[in-house]
């Protein structure tokens, strides 16, 4: 219960941050990605602001084995850079550049009642399902 409430809280604040920053507006995101046009560098400040806070949080987290609510810390430990990481990220970037929507802002825009965001999110979940099917078939092979 505590775990889910903390998740709800984090999701809500995350959503506020995306709305306030302009990340929830795909046209703004495309303005950032369009470096050859009239470039809007604002979103570099979103990343900067988030990382300033994040660096402090991870410095604190690294010294702990349990969270402040007493749960196990689950911080990824992989360090291997492989083809999956790079190819997957390259694919993600193409999709991001086509519509200007990444997963978080897509869900926030869906919450704002945007029909187009609903189409994007349904397609994204379908893409995730395709990934799971491919993984399952690979595991069998």
């Amino acid at each position: 219960m505590k775990y889910s409430l903390a998740s709800l809280f984090a999701g809500l604040i995350f959503g506020f941050g995306l709305i306030l920053s302009g990340m929830a507006n795909p046209e703004k995101v495309l303005g950032f990605l369009d470096i050859a046009g009239l470039w809007d560098p604002s979103l570099a400040f979103v990343m900067g602001g988030a990382i300033i806070v994040g660096v402090v949080a991870f410095a604190v987290a690294r010294r702990r084995t349990l969270s402040f609510l007493g749960f196990n810390m689950k911080i990824p430990s992989h360090t291997h850079i492989d083809k999956r990481l790079v190819i997957g990220s390259l694919m993600f970037g193409i999709g991001w550049g086509i519509a200007g929507i990444c997963p978080g802002p897509g869900i926030v825009a869906l919450g704002a009642g945007e029909t187009k965001a609903a189409v994007f999110v349904v397609s994204m979940v379908a893409g995730m399902a395709i990934f799971e099917l491919i993984e399952r078939n690979r595991a069998k092979a």
């Binding site: 809280f9 990343m47 399902a129």
Partner: protein
């Protein structure tokens, strides 16, 4: 030469929003011990494990409810989606497959991964930023859409 769109440039709200995103990721990390990676949290719901569902749904509900709760205090800024439906479907599929295959998106790799100085996340972030810039360049300046 890079030309800046000064009339659209909003560094303060971008910075403040970024700090809020950082605080959300920080609270999730310090309270629940997890990385706030949206694609991973959502994707995990497709292969549900017992006891691993409610918190994922709760996080998604928080994101979904954010605009409605925001409206209680202030006007919502514009959300302009100019891509057509076929483009949205292709984009969604690529983002869905790509983020799962690459183990993360802008939040998990971009915010959390860079904050913990993960070399994997740095490579992932540089990769999706690169294709993001290239894709917009091709669409707007080569194809001229």
């Amino acid at each position: 030469m890079i030309e800046i769109a000064w009339s659209n440039f909003t560094p303060w709200s971008a910075l403040a929003g970024g700090i809020l995103v950082g605080l959300a990721a920080a609270s999730f990390l310090l309270l629940n011990g997890r990385i706030a990676g949206i694609s991973g949290i959502l994707g995990g719901l497709l292969t549900p494990l017992k006891g691993d569902i409610a918190w994922r749904v709760a996080f998604m509900l928080g994101l979904l409810a954010a605009p409605a709760v925001w409206l209680l205090a202030a006007d919502m800024p514009a959300i302009e989606i100019n891509a057509g439906y076929p483009a949205l479907i292709i984009a969604g599929l690529l983002v869905g497959v790509g983020t799962r295959y690459g183990s993360g998106c802008t939040s998990g790799h971009g915010v959390c991964g860079l904050s913990r100085l993960s070399p994997r996340s740095l490579v992932a972030t540089l990769s999706f930023m690169a294709t993001g810039f290239i894709t917009v360049f091709v669409i707007r300046h080569v194809l001229g859409v």
